[in-house]
C-alpha cells in the first residue's frame, strides 16, 4: 500500500482527491481558498492599524491557518515517508524548451537554478523569488482569489468572474513563459 502511495499519483486520482478536499471544507462550513491566509497573516502582523483592508477579526480565519499548517506537514510527509526516488517524468518537449532558455532539468520537483542554495543566497535569485511572490500576492488579492478560490471553488459554483480570473491567470502565465522567462536566465 505504502509502495503504491509513494509512486507519483495519476491526474485522475489527484483531481478526485482535490474535489474531496473542497467538499470536506464545505461540509466543515468553510470555503476552499488558500490566498486569504496571506491577508490574515498581514492582519496578525498588525497591518490593520494602518490599512483598513486588513482591519478584520482574523480569528474567523483561524481554521484556514490550521489548514495551511497541515499543508506544510503534508509536504514534509511526502518528502520523507512517501518519498519516491525516481526522477520527475517531465515531457521531453518541455525539457528541450527549458534548455533553450537556459534552465537545466535536474529531475527534481523544482529547478536548483531557482531554489538551490546558490540561487537563494544570490542577489539575482532572491530578487526573482521576491518579485514573483509579490506578483502572486498582489494579483491574488486584486482578483479576489487564487487557483483554489477561483479555479476550484469558483468554477465548481459556475461563477463567471472566476472564469475571467482563470483566463487572466493564463494570459499572465503565457506572457511570463514565452515573453519574459527567456530573458531572465
Amino acid at each position: 500500500m505504502l509502495e503504491l502511495l509513494r509512486q507519483p499519483w495519476p491526474w485522475y486520482t489527484s483531481g478526485a482527491a482535490i474535489a474531496l478536499i473542497m467538499i470536506l471544507l464545505l461540509y466543515f462550513g468553510k470555503s476552499f481558498g488558500v490566498s486569504s491566509n496571506l491577508r490574515t497573516i498581514c492582519t496578525i502582523a498588525g497591518a490593520g492599524k494602518k490599512v483598513k483592508f486588513f482591519d478584520f477579526d482574523w480569528k474567523t480565519q483561524k481554521w484556514n491557518l490550521l489548514f495551511i499548517f497541515g499543508a506544510v506537514l503534508g509536504g514534509l510527509i511526502s518528502s520523507t515517508l512517501l518519498k519516491n526516488d525516481q526522477p520527475l517524468q517531465l515531457s521531453g518537449a518541455t525539457v528541450a524548451d527549458l534548455k533553450d532558455i537556459g534552465i537545466a532539468f535536474d529531475g527534481n520537483l523544482n529547478p536548483s537554478q531557482l531554489f538551490g542554495l546558490n540561487a537563494i543566497f544570490s542577489i539575482k535569485g532572491i530578487l526573482i523569488l521576491l518579485f514573483g511572490g509579490l506578483l502572486v500576492g498582489f494579483g491574488a488579492r486584486y482578483a479576489g482569489g487564487c487557483t483554489s478560490g477561483h479555479a476550484i471553488s469558483g468554477l465548481t459554483n459556475m461563477q463567471v468572474p472566476s472564469l475571467v480570473a482563470v483566463i487572466g491567470f493564463f494570459i499572465g502565465g503565457l506572457a511570463m513563459t514565452y515573453l519574459i522567462l527567456p530573458y531572465i536566465f
Binding site: 482535490i18 462550513g29 517531465l90 523544482n110 511572490g133 494579483g139 459554483n157 494570459i171 499572465g172
Partner: protein, 137 residues
C-alpha cells in the same frame, strides 16, 4: 477535534499536491507550454467532480456537520479586477511555479527558498491593501 480536522484536511491537501507533482515548477512550465495533459487532467477532474458535488449540495439542500445550511457566496460581478488581477497573478505563478497553496506545501517538502516567495506574496498582499481604492475593480 474542532481544530484538528482542519489540520488533517491540510495534511491530505499537502500530500495530494506533492504526489500529483502540482507543486513542481517544471510541471507548471509544462502546463503553460501545453506539452502535457497532466495539470489539465488534474484541475479538470477536480472541477468536474466538484461541480457535481456543488450541484447536489444545492439540489438536496445538504447541511454542514453542525447542521447549518451550506451557503455559496457569489463573486462580485465585475470585469477589470478579475482580468487584471488574474494576469498579474499568472505572471508570478509562471515565474515562481507556485500559487499560494504549493508555496506552503513546498516549505514542508524542503524547498526553503519558498519562504522568500511567501514573504514577497505577503508584501504584494499588503501593497494591494494600501492602493486598493485607487485601482479599477
Amino acid at each position: 477535534m474542532k481544530s484538528i480536522k482542519f489540520i488533517l484536511a491540510g495534511i491530505l491537501f499537502g500530500i495530494i499536491m506533492s504526489k500529483s507533482e502540482a507543486i513542481s515548477w517544471y510541471r507548471i512550465q509544462e502546463m503553460f507550454r501545453f506539452q502535457s495533459f497532466h495539470m489539465y487532467g488534474f484541475i479538470g477532474t477536480a472541477v468536474v467532480l466538484g461541480s457535481i458535488a456543488v450541484f447536489l449540495i444545492k439540489k438536496f439542500k445538504i447541511n454542514d456537520y453542525a447542521g447549518n445550511p451550506i451557503v455559496f457566496q457569489d463573486k462580485d460581478k465585475s470585469f477589470p479586477r478579475y482580468i487584471i488581477g488574474g494576469t498579474v497573478f499568472g505572471l508570478g505563478w509562471a515565474l515562481t511555479g507556485a500559487c499560494p497553496g504549493p508555496m506552503f506545501v513546498n516549505i514542508g517538502y524542503g524547498y526553503l527558498g519558498m519562504l522568500i516567495v511567501i514573504f514577497g506574496a505577503l508584501v504584494g498582499t499588503y501593497f494591494y491593501g494600501v492602493i486598493k481604492n485607487r485601482l479599477p475593480h
